[in-house]
């Protein structure tokens, strides 16, 4: 079966629940296929939790949710050893992190200490509790949501930790038509969040990954990628340019995007499609520049020449 067909069915399935957000759903899937973690940033009530729940369902992954609060401790996520009187030994009670898809809700509400415990797990794919290293289940995805940083009571994630998220997405307000449809659905008393059907099983996930690894990135495309990266490092609008990790993330996502469209090679359109989600949270505008990361991405898309000279 073609990758595209799988993806389309998954997108449709999620799209039934989260109305009018097809591009974001596609990008979120792309992020998961590329084995990356996803950061959803938006105001409360925009469907962040709904999206992550639906994604877990269509991929058939075990799913757990942690609501981050300011008094959450690392042990609350990773797990803790408890003395068991019956056989007089310590037994490890795994925390919610031992799952395939973890929804870390409102990650910027908790303290940096707890944040970094999670982020370490994200980077390593394993956790170390009480000196013992334990593997996390595979695949392991984190979908973290955060409120816009300027809200009160938040601990903004530092740039170094933002960099660990392959993509950052904003859902945004729904399209008026989609919103209307949502109202009507609620009014007619239809099911709200029915669990979506699983569309992609483990084998198919593996197949998609194989397809991604076979995607060809040509010389010309690498040149374009390099021009993009160089531009972020040389142009005065950027305080911080793309790191090599960021550049690799961009390439990985573009390859995945190509595979999701049943293409064996990457085209510049792929890069431009994933660029905002991959790059915007990694770019810091310089003090003189009025725009934010998204404006910088627009700049990149507009000014960096696709064709070499």
């Amino acid at each position: 079966m073609q990758v595209r067909g799988l993806v389309d069915s998954a997108v449709n399935e999620v799209g039934n629940i989260l109305l009018g957000k097809e591009p974001q759903i596609r990008l979120a899937l792309c992020c998961l296929f590329a084995r990356g973690h996803l950061l959803l940033e938006d105001l409360p009530g925009m469907g962040k939790t709904t999206l992550s729940h639906a994604l877990a369902a269509v991929l058939g992954l075990s799913w757990k949710r942690v609501q981050f609060t300011s008094d959450l401790l690392p042990a609350d996520i990773l797990g803790v050893s408890v003395f068991d009187a019956s056989d007089a030994s310590f037994t490890f009670h795994p925390g919610p992190i031992f799952t395939q898809l973890l929804l870390a809700d409102e990650i910027n509400r908790t303290t940096p200490r707890t944040q970094s415990a999670l982020l370490e797990a994200m980077a390593e794919g394993q956790v170390t509790v009480e000196g013992e290293t334990r593997q996390l289940p595979q695949p392991f995805f984190v979908i973290a949501t955060q409120n816009p940083v300027h809200q009160s009571g938040t601990y903004p994630l530092p740039e170094s930790q933002l960099d660990r998220f392959l993509m950052r997405l904003e859902l945004g307000y729904p399209h008026p038509q989609a919103e209307r449809q949502m109202f009507e659905r609620r009014h007619s008393g239809a099911m709200e969040i029915q669990n979506p059907r699983q569309c992609i099983d483990m084998g198919q996930l593996e197949m998609i990954r194989v397809a991604v690894s076979k995607v060809h990135a040509s010389e010309n495309l690498i040149d374009y990628l390099q021009r993009l990266v160089a531009y972020t490092r040389q142009s005065p609008e950027f305080e911080v340019g793309l790191s090599p990790r960021g550049a690799l993330a961009l390439l990985d996502c573009a390859k995945t995007w190509a595979a999701m469209n049943n293409r064996g090679h990457v085209v510049p359109e792929d890069i431009q499609a994933v660029l905002p989600a991959v790059a915007a949270h990694r770019l810091v505008p310089s003090g003189d520049y009025a725009g934010d990361g998204d404006a910088l991405v627009d700049l990149l898309r507009r000014d960096v020449d696709v064709v070499g000279r």
Binding site: S218, N220, P236, E239, V267, V304, D305, G308, R309
Partner: protein, 674 residues
């Protein structure tokens, strides 16, 4: 702060290096605290760079500036004059460095650096100083270049290479400007070098003066003869004439001491071929010039006095070149005026009575003035008089008596002084002449190098029908001094340059060192005569011989031509360099395609992918849809799908070549009307 406006670390390092390099040649002239200011400034700025300290506040800056002024005033006693002004500039330079925070500050500082580099020439135009200044210019330019390399966060030596290349490119222009740029006279004058020591002879002489001058191995002047160099013993470089003896001090006549009608030198009947030579004086801060008797300067601006000296109207503040013609044999001043006779026979009313008696006695027995001179010389020669650099001090109230009858040890000024005293005591007009005698001949370029230790004093006696005649009493005591020079004359005493153990002149016996010394001296001479001595007159002569009449047109042509000399090769190399970054034929043809689309008003934005562009183009020009899709498809295949097919590339290039929408206007207009 904006990153663009920051001074990169590399630039900061180069600025610090140039800072110290610029102040280094001035160190000897600066009070020590100015150097401390430099160290403090650099430490402060580095601490600011490391984020430890902050920039000085406004009041700190005011305080530092004020104390700079006060310090200079305290050290020099004035703020006027060359040295205090330069010291002030250097202090300000260091203080400015502390508050260097943005690029514009660095510009100010570095342009000031060029200016400071020039100030060194106010003190010396020596060859080595010039070379050093070139290095300084290179350093300052390097710092300027580094300022424009924002990416370099580490100290980088490659910057200097770039700056060096840039300076080399400027060399032809520099050379042309040196020759053609108009040499203006000074637009203003500063009371220059109020503190600089006067060197060489002074305008009065007391016993011991010449002897102390003989301890110096500095060069007084260099002479180049047009023809053969005369005998060393004939080289009496006449500079000063001392006609007045007061309180045991010989001094020259001031300008107002001479009556008006006597101020111009008498006409001298010249005959025979003159010796022609040019002299390059080192700076002395004094007015007198040296020449062989009877000398007439050929260079304009040299004055002649009634006692046949040559003078420069202004003190010599830098090397000075003048040309002279000398007729060594013609008699001068055959008729002595009454005033002159009175002046040249005047003695203090009393003192040195034994000498006076001896003089009268000898004159009586001699019968004529000539014989009298011979007798006195004979006395010096036959009796046990010693020529020495260490005569001991004569402190009595009758120093000449003491010298002639007791000590009998003296240097040239003692003999000259005693001789003239005796002449005058017998009413024979006589005077002391000071200058240099002999000199070292540099075999490499046939120049005569006259050192300070060649300083000498001798006498002139006026004889009937012969005029003023040179008499050197020293030659009667120590003929070696005149024939071989001071070193030979002092060989037994070992006192030659005793105070300067490191002087290269003391090691003339080592051939290699001597060769090096002479070679460097020859180089210095060439430098002085070609570069330092290149004045407006020589410039005019040179340009005239090269280009005939000098007009604005010639001037402009020269300037532009020199620019072209550099810029044309650069332009040509740039023109060919474009091809050193090869454009793949693929991209080249795609761009050609884009150009043709642009002619139709469809311009691809740089960030627009070929696919998106094709979409837009098809919407705008449906008539070309097939071709557009074909070309874009081929391009995408070749560029991104990894197709390495030669045929496909050929297809693509052919498709683009044939794509000439502008030749199918009809079709196009049809589209646009739709």
């Amino acid at each position: 702060m904006n990153v663009l406006q920051q001074v990169p670390r590399n630039a900061l390092m180069w600025i610090i290096i140039s800072l110290f390099a610029l102040v280094a040649p001035h160190i000897g002239r600066l009070p020590i605290w100015v150097l401390a200011v430099y160290v403090i400034a650099v430490v402060w700025r580095l601490q600011v760079h490391r984020g430890r300290w902050s920039f000085p506040g406004r009041w700190v800056k005011v305080a530092m500036t004020t104390s700079g002024f006060v310090g200079i005033y305290a050290s020099y006693g004035t703020l006027v004059g060359l040295e205090p002004t330069v010291a002030l500039l250097l202090t300000a330079f260091a203080l400015k460095f502390i508050e260097l925070s943005q690029r514009k500050d660095a510009y100010v500082l570095l342009f000031l650096g060029y200016f400071i580099c020039i100030t060194e020439f106010l003190f010396s135009q020596d060859l080595l100083i010039t070379l050093y200044s070139v290095i300084n210019v290179l350093l300052v330019t390097t710092a300027l270049v580094a300022l424009h390399q924002p990416g370099l966060d580490q100290f980088n030596r490659g910057t200097m290479r770039l700056a060096g290349v840039m300076l080399l490119q400027a060399v032809p222009l520099m050379v042309v400007l040196f020759f053609v740029f108009p040499r203006f006279g000074p637009l203003w004058t500063v009371p220059i070098k109020s503190h600089a020591a006067k060197t060489g002879m002074s305008d009065f002489m007391k016993p011991g003066d010449v002897a102390s001058l003989s301890q110096s191995d500095e060069v007084a002047f260099r002479v180049k003869f047009d023809g053969e160099i005369p005998e060393k013993s004939a080289l009496y470089w006449r500079g000063l004439v001392f006609s007045r003896l007061e309180q045991d001090v010989w001094s020259g006549l001031g300008y107002y001491d001479v009556p008006l009608e006597e101020q111009r030198p008498d006409e001298v009947a010249i005959s025979g071929q003159p010796l022609r030579y040019s002299v390059i004086m080192e700076s002395t801060q004094q007015n007198w010039l040296y020449g062989l008797r009877y000398a007439r300067a050929r260079s304009p601006g040299v004055m002649h006095s009634s006692d046949f000296r040559m003078m420069s109207p202004a003190p010599l503040e830098s090397e000075y070149l003048y040309r002279v013609e000398s007729w060594t044999d013609v008699p001068v001043d055959l008729d002595l005026s009454d005033w002159r006779r009175k002046t040249e026979t005047k003695l203090p009313p009393q003192g040195n009575n034994r000498t006076r008696e001896l003089a009268l006695e000898l004159r009586e027995s001699a019968g004529s003035d000539e014989a009298f001179v011979e007798q006195v010389l004979e006395k010096f020669n036959s009796e046990d008089y010693v020529y020495t650099l260490q005569p001991g001090r004569l402190t009595g109230s009758n120093p000449i008596d003491d010298f002639l009858f007791q000590a009998r040890r003296g240097f040239c000024e003692h003999y000259a002084s005693a001789f003239v005293f005796m002449m005058r005591a017998a009413d024979v007009p006589a005077r002391v002449v000071a200058g240099y005698q002999g000199g070292e001949i540099n075999p490499l370029n046939k120049t005569v190098i006259v050192h300070q230790f060649d300083a000498h004093a001798w006498a002139e006696v006026w004889l009937e029908n012969r005029g003023w005649v040179r008499v050197d009493p020293t030659s009667a005591v120590s003929p070696l001094r005149i024939e071989m020079g001071l070193e030979e004359a002092m060989a037994s005493e070992g006192s030659f340059l005793a105070a300067a153990p490191l002087s290269p002149l003391r090691y003339r016996s080592i051939p290699l060192l001597n060769q090096l010394r002479l070679r460097y001296d020859a180089l210095t001479y060439r430098w002085q005569s070609w570069v330092v001595g290149f004045d407006s007159e020589q410039q005019f002569d040179l340009l005239h011989t090269l280009f005939g009449e000098i007009s604005t047109r010639v001037f402009a042509t020269l300037l532009l031509g020199s620019w072209a000399l550099v810029l044309v090769p650069v332009a040509i190399s740039l023109f060919f360099k474009r091809d050193t970054y090869p454009v793949s034929p693929l991209d080249k043809y795609y761009r050609l395609f884009c150009d043709r689309m642009a002619e139709l008003g469809l311009i691809r934005g740089p960030g627009e992918t070929p696919g998106h562009f094709a979409q837009r183009a098809v919407e705008a020009l449906p008539g070309f849809a097939d071709e557009l899709r074909r070309i874009t498809g081929l391009y995408n295949d070749l560029a991104y799908a990894g197709v390495k097919d030669k045929d496909e590339l050929a297809q693509f290039t052919r498709a683009v070549s044939r794509f000439r929408p502008d030749r199918r206007r009809g079709l196009l207009e049809e589209d646009t009307t739709l």
